[in-house]
Structure formats: structure tokens, C-alpha cells
């Protein structure tokens, strides 16, 4: 696949400079090239990338390498710091008007997810802030858009103000606010029609709505998958409407979401929320630092290192490495290691933190199921001591017994035996590769 995390990209460069005490200019140049490509592949706007790279170069050259980090990690850290700084702090407050109702206007391109987000935001306001919002259907252009908002209103059991598709959006918005006042709704969320930022006529309509209802918040709803054009979209919406914030949608996809960075860079408006799924409660506060890691595609390398260091007993790890090298790794060791890994936290989180984990053969589609781990444990625990030491003892009747004892099937037992065998081979390769280098005991048996 075209998507490579920054960490993977940097591997070869990092190898070259491991062991150096300082980061030289040449090192930085090579690494920033990789950083540049990674950012571009993540759809960060090329101009934004250029500025960022210049700053990173300035900061990284000549830096002392921190003791706990390799030079490669050092550069990654600089990059991540810069990205996090650029993304700004977390900000998910919603304005409250002095005199209710507070008016929120939703804008964006077609298909960004305005209507769904309108529903989600209303739900958020009610659940988290105990408000009673009124939804307003101002998208009179797209077939059945009004209908969509009404259905959402039904699902949420919330009032929806609509005047069909014949009315003028400005009029709808104004009337809606009158109704909100009469019915004591303290928030009004106006869903507008999707439009291209170059469509002057429709952009003017937004300005008219704005000047007639004086919204307290104007959100730009942006698809996280947007490419290089995100900059132009955000810039023109911001110029015409003076946005108060951005909501990023479809972040539950596998996009890197470089658009987030571009938008923040050109508008300097906070990204307040992120849409994380199709259900109406899947709207979350936006976390800039997480986004920075995601854009780089490096997982949270630093956190992972910290976690591993605190949880894996150094001595045990050494013993383990010795065992791996001599191929005397047994099911008992496997079990013990699984316990250690489990101490580090939920497996999915751990996997997400490992750079390139999604790229590894066999792991790519493997759904890491905690239950599966329980099964594996049960199977191993159903083995006799001898069997755990020497899997070659296995025959049909032993397997049958193990399956029965663990509440699994013979095929599951077989699968585990096969995986274990392959794992051993792989470990041998890995340790051979690492010979002479001090391993930190960072091996995961389920890889």
C-alpha cells in the first residue's frame, strides 16, 4: 500500500545514524525528506509542509541526543512537537449566548456530513450540557435533506423546524429562531445546504443567513479525507463567514487526516470536534496531539516505549531473549509473556501504538480480539507440563483432550500450535538480526 508510516520510512535512515551522539545536518536533511513525503502522503498541504520542514530543520540540527532516545526518535520527537504546537491545544467548548437561544450554523461542502453532525452536536448538547436544541432544516436543495434531518430529529426525539423545500433559507432560519424563543429552546442548530466554496451565489446566501440570525458559532464541517484542496475550502469559508471552529468528520476511517493540519495552519481556527462513527453519539472532542501522531502514521512510539519500560521486567526480558536465541522458548514462556503484555493495557491500544503494525503480514487483517487471547491462554493451560515444554509430543488424542479441557476445538488447538511454531522461527530470525545489539526486550509474542 502507498501508506507508510513515518516511522517505517525513517527506519533505514535511522539505522545509519544509530550510535551517534549528535544529529548532524546531513542526517537531518535525509530525515526531513522522509518527513516531507510522509506529510504529503497524509494530505497535508504542500505549502504547510514546506514551512514546517524549515522549522524542523532549524530545531533539529546540532541537537544533543537525549539519553533515552535514539537520534531517529529525537528527530521524530521534534517533528511531533512541532506538529502538536501547530495543531494547538484541545478546545471543545461551545459558545453560550448571553440571551438564549445560542445560534449555531453548520456549513461545508456537499457530502462532508453536515446533517449527521448537526444531529450529533444536538445530542452532545443535550447529553453533556443538558440543553434543549432546536434543529433547523435550511438545506432546501438536496433531495430529501429536510427529510433526513427530520428522521434524525425523530431518532433523537428532538424538535426540527422546517418549511419544506420551497421556502427561502434565510426566512427559514429567522422563523426558526422566533420559534425557539417561544418554545424555550436554548440552542438553535442550523443545517445549511452543502456548497462549493467557489459558488458565489450560494456563498452569499450563507452570508445573508449569518447577518440575519447573528450566529454565536459558525462551524465548518470538513471531511477528514479531503486532499490538498482543504486549504482553499477552509480559507474561502473563513474569509466569507469568519468561522468560529471546525468539525472534522469521518475520522473513524483509515485516512491520515492531514487536512486537519492544513486547515488549522491557514485559518488558525480551532478544530473542536471529530466525528468518529455513524451513530449519533459518536462525536468526540478533538485531540490535537493524537492527530499529530496519526498524521505522521507513527503510532504513539514514545508512549509505547515508556509503557514497555515500566511494565516489562528487565531481567525476565533478558532470560527470554536468551531462550529465543537458543530456540528453547516454550509455551510456559509464551504464557508468561502474554501476561506481561496484557499488563500494558488493552491490546488494541497497544497495537495502535506500534508503528507499522498494520502493515505486518498476517497482522493486517487480524482482528485483535481479547477473547481470542483468553482462548489461547485456556488452550495452553489445558496442556500438561511436558506438552508445554515440548510441543512435538502432540498427537491426535492429546489435542482432543486439550480442546475439551479448554472448551475450544481441535482446529483451534492446531492453529495455535502452528502459529507457535512459526513464531519461534520468526523469533530466531529476529534475534539473529539483533545479535550484538542490546535488545531491550521489546518483543511481542503475538506478532
Amino acid at each position: 500500500m502507498a501508506f507508510e508510516g513515518l516511522a517505517d520510512r525513517l527506519q533505514s535512515t535511522i539505522k545509519k545514524i544509530t550510535g551517534k551522539g549528535k544529529v548532524s545536518e546531513q542526517d537531518v536533511k535525509e530525515m526531513t525528506r522522509e518527513v516531507r513525503l510522509a506529510l504529503l502522503e497524509a494530505d497535508v498541504n504542500f505549502k504547510v509542509v514546506k514551512n514546517l520542514i524549515n522549522r524542523i530543520k532549524e530545531r533539529a540540527v546540532g541537537q544533543e541526543v537525549m539519553e533515552s532516545l535514539t537520534p531517529g526518535q529525537q528527530v521524530i520527537k521534534v517533528v511531533q512537537d512541532e506538529l502538536t504546537a501547530l495543531m494547538g491545544g484541545e478546545q471543545s467548548k461551545i459558545a453560550v449566548a448571553d440571551r438564549p437561544p445560542t445560534v449555531i450554523m453548520m456549513t461545508g461542502l456537499q457530502g462532508a456530513g453536515k446533517t449527521t453532525t448537526t444531529g450529533k452536536l444536538a445530542n452532545h448538547l443535550r447529553k453533556k450540557h443538558n440543553r434543549s436544541p432546536l434543529l433547523v432544516a435550511c438545506d432546501v436543495y438536496r433531495p430529501a435533506a429536510v427529510n433526513q434531518l427530520e428522521t434524525l430529529g425523530e431518532q433523537l426525539n428532538m424538535p426540527v423546524f422546517s418549511m419544506g423545500t420551497k421556502a427561502n433559507p434565510v426566512e427559514i432560519a429567522t422563523k426558526a429562531i422566533e420559534q425557539a424563543k417561544a418554545e424555550h429552546n436554548d440552542y438553535v442548530i442550523i443545517d445549511t445546504a452543502g456548497r462549493l466554496h467557489v459558488d458565489n451565489e450560494l456563498m452569499e446566501e450563507l452570508e445573508e443567513i449569518k447577518s440575519s440570525v447573528k450566529p454565536d458559532e459558525i462551524f465548518l464541517v470538513v471531511d477528514a479525507m479531503t486532499g490538498q484542496d482543504a486549504v482553499n475550502v477552509a480559507e474561502s469559508f473563513n474569509e466569507q463567514l469568519d468561522l468560529s471552529g471546525v468539525i472534522l468528520t469521518k475520522l473513524d476511517g483509515d485516512t491520515r487526516g492531514g487536512a486537519a493540519l492544513s486547515i488549522k495552519a491557514v485559518t488558525d481556527k480551532p478544530i473542536k470536534f471529530a466525528g468518529m462513527g455513524e451513530k449519533l453519539d459518536q462525536l468526540e472532542a478533538f485531540h490535537p496531539e493524537r492527530m499529530a501522531s496519526r498524521i505522521l502514521g507513527m503510532g504513539d512510539v514514545l508512549t509505547l516505549i515508556e509503557k514497555a519500560q515500566t511494565n516489562v521486567d528487565e531481567k525476565q526480558a533478558k532470560e527470554l531473549e536468551e531462550k529465543m536465541r537458543t530456540m528453547s522458548f516454550t509455551f510456559d514462556d509464551f504464557l508468561e509473556q502474554m501476561g506481561q503484555v496484557k499488563n500494558m493495557g488493552p491490546l488494541d491500544d497497544l497495537m495502535a501504538m506500534i508503528p507499522g503494525a498494520n502493515k505486518m503480514k498476517g497482522l493486517k487483517n487480524a482482528k485483535l480480539d481479547e477473547k481470542q487471547i483468553v482462548h489461547v491462554e485456556a488452550i495452553i493451560q489445558s496442556m500438561t507440563k511436558k506438552e508445554r515444554q515440548d510441543p512435538s509430543l502432540m498427537n491426535a488424542s492429546r489435542k482432543k483432550r486439550i480442546a475439551k479441557g479448554s472448551g475450544t476445538s481441535v482446529s483451534q488447538v492446531n492453529r495455535l500450535l502452528k502459529q507457535f511454531d512459526e513464531m519461534k522461527k520468526m523469533m530466531k530470525q529476529m534475534t539473529n538480526m539483533q545479535k550484538g545489539k542490546k535488545g531491550k526486550g521489546m518483543k511481542f509474542p503475538f506478532m
Partner: protein, 329 residues
């Protein structure tokens, strides 16, 4: 004769072609002006072909969402070409650049343009897939309208049973195009709706059945499995179907489009792409990347909101649309 001259002559001679080209030219107004003016600008500023020149060209292509891998390959090839022809000055570059871009699109055989696989005497089934918000239902509405205009009997199947208002949206299009829409209630099994659609299309002796599906992000395994099931139902009911599986892509999408194309191809058998929202400032450079890396042809492009603005893709006209300004000088 150079390729671009051929292209230019072709569009000058033929009145009919000119009409199509005009649409592209208008629809791609923004794309074209920004893209070709940028290249013209670049050529004007640089006298000699050097590293800086290539670096800036790289930026221009990347800004059009062509994608890093494709751009790198393209730049490498251009550098080779420059060496081979011993080009020193930039004024010769215009043609080399446009030729390389066209080459990427066509690959080896330059005359073959894949058109829609429409059966003559029997039912043609088109399955439309894509992520959320790319314009699947709208594209289906426009396609239905056009097939109807051509005198075909069209049936639509409302397979998006998930999103609020999706069925109503398709029905509205059905009314506009005056074609039948087969539906069940919201939340029902999409495969069952499609099954009904096939039965209805057969009994009504329809020429074309277009199946709508709910938008789904390609990393949602369960939803992709659901899509495979829909695909299997179609395969089972009508041998040889679906005749077309169209992946709808939003032209403003960045590199994620590649991942979409790849994953949807695994679940179904994507035979072509509908590139929507190509009007505006959308760049659609991703078309090149998809063609280059995954080899899936574009079959339709959306150049505006009007019913007639969904066009069968014509690579010649597309490229001509991009370079029209440069050619007229």
C-alpha cells in the same frame, strides 16, 4: 506529429466532439485555470531545466492530489526524457509534461477507452459503492435520468437502508427521472432489497438495474462484508452480473482514495470509477494515481449539479480540458 497536436486537431475537426469538450472545459474551469496557469507560470519563470525546476513541478503536481508515489515516478521519467532528448530549455517541457500525463492515463494501448459494459438484449446490473458523502445516490439519479433519455427501461434499488433520508432521496430522483424505485423500510437487509430489485427488474423487463448501497468507510470490516454479500446475491441471481461495479469517489478526496479503491476492489470487483464534484476547484489528480497504481479506469465524471452534468468519461476531453489554455497559445 506530436500527440498534443493530434489532440488539438481532433477537437478542431469534429463539431460533435467540440460539444463534449466544451462541457469539460466549463466544468473544469477552476481545475484548468489553476493547473495550466501554474505550469505556464513555472515555464515562464525558469529558463533552464534544473533541479529547482523539477522541485517546483513536483509541488504543482502534488497540489493537484496526484499523489506522492505517482509524482515521484513521473518526475523520474521526465528527468530521463529530458536526458534522452537533451532538453535544456523549459519551453520544450510543456509538451513533454502533457504527453507523460496522458501516457500515465492510457498506459500502453493509447486508443482503448473503456466504456460502460451495457448488455444489449438483457438486463444490465450496475452496483454503486463508495464511502459516505461522495454522491452515490445523486450519481445514480443522474445516470438513471440519462439511461431513461436513451429510451432504456430503468429500475433503481434503494439499497441504502441505513442513512436517514437515503431512501426518500433516491425516490425523489426516481420521480424526476420517471423510473421505478424498489425499496423496503429503513433498516432492512440491503441484500434483500437488491434481491427484490432484481426480481422486479426481471419481471418488468427492465434494461438497466442500478443498485444503491449505503456509504461505508472502507476500514469497517463488517460493512464491507455486508457489501460482499450484496455482490454475491447479484452474482447468484443473474450470471455474469453485476456488469459494472462503480466506485464513487469525491474529487476533493486526497490519498485516501487509493485505500478506498483498493479495499472496495477486494470486497466487490470494482470495474470503474465515478469521479464526482470535479467542478469547483477540485483537482481530480487522484485519477492519475489510481490509474497508475491500481489500474482502474474512470467511467463517469460529475461536472456540476445539473442532471446532464454527469458525463461518461472521455480521457481525451479530460486531458484537453486540462491543457486547453496551453494549447491555444
Amino acid at each position: 506529429m506530436s500527440f498534443m497536436k493530434k489532440l488539438k486537431d481532433k477537437f478542431k475537426q469534429n463539431k460533435e466532439e467540440e460539444k463534449v469538450t466544451k462541457k469539460y472545459k466549463e466544468g473544469m474551469e477552476k481545475t484548468r485555470t489553476s493547473f495550466s496557469s501554474k505550469i505556464n507560470n513555472l515555464l515562464a519563470r525558469y529558463r533552464s531545466v534544473d533541479e529547482d525546476f523539477f522541485e517546483e513541478l513536483e509541488d504543482i503536481l502534488i497540489s493537484a492530489d496526484v499523489g506522492v508515489t505517482t509524482v515521484m515516478d513521473l518526475i523520474d521519467e521526465l528527468k530521463m526524457e529530458v536526458k534522452r532528448q537533451n532538453i535544456k530549455e523549459t519551453d520544450k517541457m510543456k509538451e513533454v509534461i502533457s504527453e507523460k500525463l496522458v501516457e500515465i492515463y492510457y498506459g500502453e494501448d493509447s486508443d482503448q477507452i473503456e466504456s460502460m459494459n451495457i448488455q444489449n438484449d438483457e438486463l444490465t446490473i450496475i452496483l454503486v459503492v463508495g464511502v459516505n458523502g461522495v454522491g452515490k445516490t445523486t450519481s445514480i439519479g443522474k445516470m438513471a435520468y440519462q439511461f431513461k433519455q436513451e429510451g432504456k427501461r430503468v429500475v433503481l434499488a434503494a439499497g441504502d437502508t441505513f442513512r436517514a433520508g437515503a431512501i426518500e432521496q433516491l425516490e425523489e430522483w426516481g420521480k424526476r427521472a420517471e423510473v421505478d424505485v424498489i425499496k423496503q423500510s429503513a433498516g432492512s437487509d440491503p441484500a434483500a432489497v437488491i434481491f427484490d430489485g432484481i426480481k422486479a427488474a426481471k419481471s418488468r423487463k427492465a434494461d438497466v438495474l442500478i443498485c444503491d448501497t449505503a456509504g461505508r468507510l472502507q476500514n469497517k470490516v463488517n460493512l464491507m462484508n455486508e457489501l460482499s454479500k450484496v455482490n454475491r446475491v447479484i452474482e447468484r441471481e443473474v450470471p455474469g452480473a453485476p456488469h459494472e461495479v462503480l466506485l464513487v469517489l469525491d474529487a476533493t478526496t486526497g490519498q485516501n482514495a487509493l485505500s478506498q479503491a483498493k479495499t472496495f476492489s477486494e470486497a466487490t470487483n470494482v470495474s470503474g470509477i465515478v469521479l464526482t464534484k470535479l467542478d469547483g476547484t477540485a483537482k481530480g489528480g487522484i485519477v492519475l494515481a489510481i490509474r497508475h497504481e491500481l489500474n482502474i479506469p474512470v467511467k463517469y465524471v460529475g461536472l456540476g449539479e445539473q442532471v446532464g452534468d454527469l458525463q461518461e468519461f472521455d480521457a481525451h476531453a479530460f486531458v484537453y480540458g486540462l491543457f486547453a489554455d496551453m494549447l491555444q497559445e
